[in-house]
């Protein structure tokens, strides 16, 4: 892990490596975290809607964490 941990700006072409390093050793699914991080930026810049993002990862999050409490849940979304 990078040390010290402090706010900094990472060139976008180095971001994935840095994100992977942040998740290194985490007791949860690293690949899921990386994919969600990538798509969360796509949501921010309008390439993906909140609803699409929520639906895309809902099942995986339930499997990994046993819950999905993200605020991206669209109205009327069936949690089951």
């Amino acid at each position: 892990m990078n040390d010290p941990q402090q706010p900094r700006l990472t060139p976008i072409d180095e971001w994935e490596d840095e994100a992977a390093a942040m998740l290194d050793g985490v007791e949860y699914d690293t690949d899921l975290g990386l994919r969600m991080a990538r798509d969360a930026i796509r949501v921010s810049n309008g390439e993906l809607s909140d609803a699409e993002f929520h639906e895309k990862y809902h099942e995986e999050l339930l499997a990994e964490f046993g819950e999905d409490e993200r605020p991206t849940k669209p109205e009327g979304f069936d949690d089951d």
Partner: protein, 276 residues
């Protein structure tokens, strides 16, 4: 609705790290961690400066570029969208916060933050002194933490510690949704940028460069009530950017963190009692 934001005048910033230190003290930030720091360009590390002093009193000058960086409190915050347990959330006033009781330490938010603004408590946090500092309880091992815009102070009508303690008055905090607030006036009056705008996160921290602003001419309401003097180097109204239409903004309701009409900029007098 209130929507808090920050303007940082990079022409005024002198890279003194007072914001970083005061943040660390106010928020009881553990040893080895920073929520707020000042980056520089050209040094061996990202926060070490390069360059030199002018030689022999010549015409040269030391020109440093400082990039104060912390949580940007994004409107479209990727960190909020990836948190599976909703520990990271956006308050009604726009401040992005973490519920440390909910945080499970998955670090997905850290991976999603384009500004690397979050830190993880790998070990049991150590404070110096051991009992901690400031007005915020220590966070436990295994959670992610970050800048809160000093929400505990904002809730009391005070500006964040980094704003109050900036000796260059380079930080201006207030309500972005209030056209009469100083932050709104500065964003309208001066050229400002947001970090990594291409990522669409719409940070609530705006960086002012190219032309030096008057800086932070107004403290929060509570501090101002404790002041009985105005800045000795200010003669008043011309220090404050005028409204775009030239109208008086005294109808803004006198909200915290805003300039009242033609009110003269205030600077806390030494020994005025402080705000803590």
């Amino acid at each position: 609705m209130t929507n808090y934001g920050l303007v940082i005048d990079q022409e005024r910033c002198i890279g003194c790290q007072a914001c970083a230190v005061s943040c660390k003290q106010e928020n009881n930030v553990p040893m080895g961690q920073f929520w707020n720091r000042v980056l520089t360009e050209g040094g061996d590390k990202i926060d070490t400066p390069s360059g030199g002093y002018p030689e022999d009193g010549g015409s040269g000058s030391l020109d440093m570029e400082y990039q104060p960086t912390a949580c940007q409190h994004c409107e479209n915050a990727p960190c909020v969208k990836v948190c599976p347990v909703n520990a990271t959330y956006t308050r009604d006033d726009g401040i992005v916060e973490i519920d440390y009781d909910k945080c499970i330490g998955c670090r997905y938010c850290m991976a999603a933050c384009p500004y690397n603004a979050r830190v993880f408590n790998w070990d049991e946090p150590e404070q110096m002194p051991e009992e901690g500092t400031g007005d915020v309880a220590a966070r436990p091992q295994g959670v992610v933490e970050k800048c809160t815009f000093c929400s505990h102070r904002v809730d009391e009508g005070l500006d964040p510690a980094c704003v109050v303690n900036c000796p260059a008055d380079a930080r201006i905090f207030g309500d972005l949704d209030d056209e009469g607030s100083t932050v709104s006036k500065y964003i309208n009056e001066y050229e400002t940028d947001q970090l990594l705008e291409d990522r669409g996160t719409n940070p609530k921290t705006h960086y002012l460069s190219g032309e030096m602003s008057p800086g932070r001419p107004q403290t929060s309401d509570k501090m101002e009530s404790e002041l009985d003097d105005v800045s000795p180097w200010s003669d008043g109204a011309e220090d404050v950017p005028s409204d775009a239409d030239g109208s008086d903004s005294s109808d803004s309701g006198g909200s915290p963190h805003s300039i009242e009409g033609d009110a003269a900029p205030h600077v806390p007098a030494v020994g005025s009692g402080g705000d803590d």
